[in-house]
Every structure is written in C-alpha cells, then in structure tokens.
Symmetry: C2
Subunit: 123 residues, 2 copies
C-alpha cells in the first residue's frame, strides 16, 4: 500500500488573475484543499455561506477574513488557523498582493439533522 | 457567530520526554490534531494501523516515516504531506532531536459507514 504525497509550498507560481484551488483530498465527505492567492479577495458584497464547517490555516503570506456582523476584519499571519462553523458568513477581505498566500482548507462533512443539533456549539 | 482559532506555531515548548498531541477539531467524524515532537519516534517494532485515512503534513522540523514493506524510510521536510490510507501500517522512524517538529494531522471518518463515535485516539 502506498502513501501519496507532495509539498504544500511546491509550485507556488501565483497568478494575479485568479486564485488557484487544488484538491489534495476528497474522501469520506472531507475535502482538503490548498489555495494559492495573490492579491485576490472576495468581491464586494459577496459572502461565503457554506453548509460545511471549514477549518482553514494560513501557511504563508498574509490575508484578512471578514465575518458578517463583525466590526473589524481578522488579520491572519503564517500559522494562524480559524474554525469557521457551517453557515458562518464570511469573506476574504484581502490577500497579500506582492507574495503568494498559501491556505490549507479542510471542509468537514455537512452535519445532518439530529446529529448536527446534538453537536456542542462552539459559539 | 464567531470563529475560534489559534496559531500552529504558538507555544512550541517541546518536551523531550513526550510528544504533545493537541486536538484542534473533533467534529463530524473528523479529527484535526497538532503534534509537536522533539526527537521522539515510534518504539521499535511498533506500527500504527489505523482504521481511518490520515492526511499528515510536516510544518516545521524534520522527520521520517517508515511504511511496512518499504526498504527505505520517507524523509519529510517542511511542507511535505502524505496521505496514509486506512490500515496502511506505518511508524515514525525519527524526528529532529534539536528543534520542535510540528505535524498537522487530519483523520478522516472511518470508511465503514459506522458512526464516528468509534473514533478513538491515534494508535
């Protein structure tokens, strides 16, 4: 049995025209993705509203997230991670325009009815 | 709704006497864990044989994994990740003895369809 792999910092040729989304794992309802940004942010007025919890870490570069209802954006430095609950509306306020920003995102399986209600809230 | 977070490189006070396992997420059958090693490896003859797929990245330091049946160990540098299938027997051959090695491990839900309640610790 073999174990496939790679390097999170390989091939960082960033594209100022578009973020790069690369799926590293998609199994058992879990998606692990590397995202390479170069100055991109979410469009004005756009909010992510995902039915899945997302755990995301910033591994290189710099960025800021904005959460709906928060007065201030949340700036992220390398190593910073955030657990974004399902349906927690957020957007990428900005990413560093001068160097690649590397994100590692883990999307959890969507909660289903009863079991979701039993989950302890993270508030 | 708020989003909890932290930093993967915070509080790296490594303990030469024991690896540190910190659960960052345990939801929907998925466990995300930070592990800080300082010279530890698996005991001789010990093999992890987990019913869950494990995706693991080495974020800092240096280490090597050994897979059952492979002639050579697999050395990992920062950014290297490996997707270890369920029941793929492996062990940690060594970790850097002189600086903290930081791992990020994502355990996927078991493939059996059985509840994630079966889930237990690493090993």
């Amino acid at each position: 049995m073999s174990a496939a792999g790679g390097n999170l910092y390989a091939d960082l040729a960033a594209d100022p025209a578009a973020e790069r989304f690369e799926q590293l794992v998609a199994r058992q309802g879990v998606t692990i993705e590397r995202i390479v940004s170069m100055g991109q942010g979410s469009p004005d007025g756009f909010w992510y509203d995902d039915p899945r919890d997302e755990w995301v870490a910033l591994l290189a570069g710099a960025a800021a997230l904005q959460f709906d209802g928060d007065a201030h954006e949340r700036r992220l430095a390398p190593g910073d991670y955030v657990h974004i609950p399902a349906h927690c509306r957020h957007r990428v306020a900005w990413t560093d325009a001068h160097a690649p920003t590397v994100w590692l995102a883990v999307y959890l399986p969507p909660a289903t009815g009863e079991s979701a209600a039993r989950e302890s809230g993270r508030a």
